[in-house]
Amino acid sequence: MTVEEITAKLRSIIEPYVEEKELLNNIMPETDLLEDLKINSANLVDIIIDVEMAFDIEIDDDAAEQMLKVKDSVAIIQERITA
């Protein structure tokens, strides 16, 4: 999967957790899930579990804690689907 494909799939996973939908229109690698998309931090765990199911991968807790920016999340996902 390309970075663009992973990003698009990630965007659809994140969408239900973003209250202000217009914030999703301009997702960049540097976009921060909490700061920029204003996601409730308690929902990060749900996003990680959804990502694991959608991509059929396992994300350990150390990696999960790094998934704050889109680029880091995509890198962590890409590493695991190609592993």
């Binding site: 409730n40 308690a42 990060l44 765990v45 749900d46 990680i48 579990i49 807790d61 999960a64 804690e65």
Partner: protein
């Protein structure tokens, strides 16, 4: 069942906001416990003056204290170190099926959906003494 008693002692709540009399069972998959709503509870004075009924928020709180916080203490092994933990209630989606009146004893049981990165999410149900389900829902919180 020794750990049930220890976990009861470690709950951060005190009267008039403690809604657990005892835990019946706590293991890695879930927790159960019971509470009797005393007719003197503070909220019956206003909810409602002539017709006391236990408020839904209090039923939700009771479900959270037994099903979520009790289980959270067990899962973080705080009962082994006797360490007091704080708990942040982060979400609830509860349906109320029957009213609960003063002096009713309720039983709560929870079933873990997941516990990851400090967040615990559970399916929680409440029954009355007749064995009728009075509330059900999904609650989540973070152990900090």
């Amino acid at each position: 069942m020794d750990h049930c008693h220890t976990i009861l002692q470690l709950l951060p709540y005190k009267t008039p906001f403690l809604f657990v009399d005892r835990f019946l069972q706590i293991d890695e998959n879930g927790a159960s416990g019971e509470y009797t709503f005393r007719k003197e509870e503070f909220f019956y004075q206003g909810h409602f003056p002539d017709q006391p009924i236990t408020p839904g928020v209090i039923l939700t709180e009771t479900m959270a204290q037994i099903g979520l916080v009790g289980l959270g203490i067990f899962l973080t092994k705080a009962h082994e170190s006797k360490e007091k933990k704080n708990f942040v209630f982060t979400s609830s989606d509860v349906e109320f099926l029957k009213e609960v009146l003063p002096e009713e004893k309720v039983k709560v049981s929870s079933e873990k959906i997941y516990f990851r990165l400090g967040k615990l999410k559970c399916k929680v149900q409440m029954w009355n003494e007749e064995g009728e389900r009075v509330a059900k829902g999904v609650l989540a919180g973070m152990m900090v």
